[in-house]
């Protein structure tokens, strides 16, 4: 009984540290995040942190793993809705976007995949899982006649994941309307490449309607003002 309680307490502390770290990694580049900032935010001792995580890197990897496990649950929820394959892919992409915009752990996860992921095969593993998951659904969409019979499910999946990761770089997660519109435009440009022509107008509207609802519902992680400074240097902005 007592050990059970201790285990629970330890698990809670671990989660507290993970979440505090995620809040840091969501906004600050990996190399600039200090363990002291995480400690202050999580309100735990250095000993507690090192008890759970050997290093900053171990902490970062744990965030990615925590997120991907939780992400699988969310994916199952979308699959349980029983929509067609094409609709499911659009909804999943929207879900990834909504969480990336509003949830520090999700945001930190993809930031870390981009920054430290190249080093030890972490990105390959995470992105491969994502591509394989999408490929299975794309295959269904081909069977249902939404995607053209001659298209390659894995090719489509790879393209859709690339689009998401690309828009993540070129657009702005802290400006949800812009981000969701940019994502929608990329999908609409890509879809004629693999969607049956007579299904295209329906699926375009399907996306449009979700973008509209998403813009209304999603709240960004941090206030706009903080971000505007960061934009000053980027090409294309005023």
């Amino acid at each position: 009984m007592v050990t059970e309680q201790l285990d629970r307490r330890a698990e809670l502390t671990r989660l507290q540290i993970l979440q505090a770290a995620a809040r840091q990694f969501a906004h600050t580049p990996y190399s600039l995040v200090s363990l002291d900032d995480i400690l202050a935010d999580a309100n735990v001792t250095k000993g507690a942190l090192y008890f759970h995580f050997r290093s900053k890197h171990a902490l970062a990897v744990s965030i990615v793993e925590h997120r991907t496990t939780r992400g699988q649950k969310a994916v199952e929820d979308v699959l349980a809705r029983n929509l067609s394959g094409a609709e499911t892919l659009i909804d999943l992409s929207g879900l990834v976007a909504a969480e990336d915009i509003g949830d520090p752990v999700a945001r930190a996860c993809l930031n870390l995949v981009e920054s430290i992921g190249r080093a030890d095969g972490l990105a390959r593993r995470v992105l491969n899982e994502w591509v394989q998951g999408f490929a299975g659904i794309a295959k269904r969409a081909i069977g249902e006649g939404d995607f053209t019979a001659d298209s390659d499910p894995e090719g489509i999946a790879r393209l859709l994941v690339s689009i998401y990761l690309g828009v993540r770089q070129t657009s702005d997660l802290d400006d949800p309307p812009r981000f969701l519109n940019d994502l929608e435009h990329s999908w609409r440009l890509a879809m004629p490449g693999f969607v049956e022509p007579e299904r295209l107008s329906y699926l375009n509207q399907f996306i449009r309607r979700r973008t509209a609802v998403g813009i209304k519902k999603v709240a960004p992680l941090c206030p706009r003002t903080e971000r505007q400074e960061r934009h000053d240097g980027t090409p294309g902005s005023i």
């Binding site: 929820d77 979308v78 349980a80 809705r81 029983n82 929509l83 067609s84 394959g85 909804d91 929207g94 879900l95 909504a98 269904r140 249902e144 006649g145 329906y202 509207q205 309607r209 979700r210 509209a212 609802v213 998403g214 209304k216 519902k217």
Partner: protein
């Protein structure tokens, strides 16, 4: 804690036995004695949980009703547009009433006890509230006709879904509920959906047959 869990298990066992018997012989022909025998327990155990056959029916109506509502909410809690969720959700509920025995018998008892039993009223009220909330959101999202009476529309939708279930049940096979729900929506769409969204929703409805293929396979 352990005792509570055991007691809940007993209650479930009684409900399962009752649902089986009601579906084999019908509610009127089933006696409490049959249920006790099927559940393999004592009269005392049954009377501890239910003081009459009607209170057992009430429990089944409640359980079936809340299972159906939970099924619907799994769909409506997502961030998709509310009217899409409502239409798709009602198809999913229709499938669910076909596959889930408690929901199936719950629906039959619901009809039997309408206006007599508080559980029946609870089920209807919670569905009306749920549908009204969804339609209000759909109006916000611009999918409903201007000036549509939301509460009235929720009643018509609920009424026609319950009616479709009753008619489908009355046929020999009872397997055509999906088609009936589709026909009902086909007629309801122009009455509730805004002109700009109507074409989209006609296609959305047509695609329910595509989703069915997947649900079956």
């Amino acid at each position: 804690m352990a005792r509570q869990a055991r007691s809940e298990l007993t209650r479930q066992k009684i409900i399962t036995a009752a649902v089986d018997l009601f579906s084999e012989h019908g509610y009127p022909a089933t006696g409490l004695g049959d249920i006790i025998a099927r559940a393999e327990m004592t009269k005392g155990a049954l009377y501890y949980h239910f003081d009459s056959k009607e209170s057992l029916a009430e429990a089944i109506i409640d359980d079936g009703g809340s299972a159906m509502l939970t099924t619907f909410r799994v769909i409506t809690e997502t961030s998709s547009p509310a009217l899409e969720n409502t239409i798709h959700g009602l198809f999913v509920v229709a499938d669910f009433t076909r596959s889930d025995k408690v929901a199936q018998i719950g629906m039959q008892l619901l009809r039997t006890f309408s206006g007599i039993n508080a559980a029946a009223t609870r089920v209807y009220t919670s569905w009306l509230e749920e549908l009204t909330a969804q339609l209000n959101q759909a109006a916000d999202e611009g999918d409903l006709r201007e000036g549509l009476d939301i509460a009235g529309a929720a009643e018509v939708i609920l009424g026609s879904m319950l009616g479709a279930e009753a008619l489908s049940r009355a046929t020999a096979t009872g397997t055509d509920l999906r088609e009936r729900v589709a026909r009902t929506w086909d007629l309801l769409l122009p009455a509730v959906v805004s002109r700009e969204s109507l074409d989209y929703f006609r296609e959305f409805l047509a695609r329910e047959s595509l989703r069915r293929t997947k649900a079956a396979g």
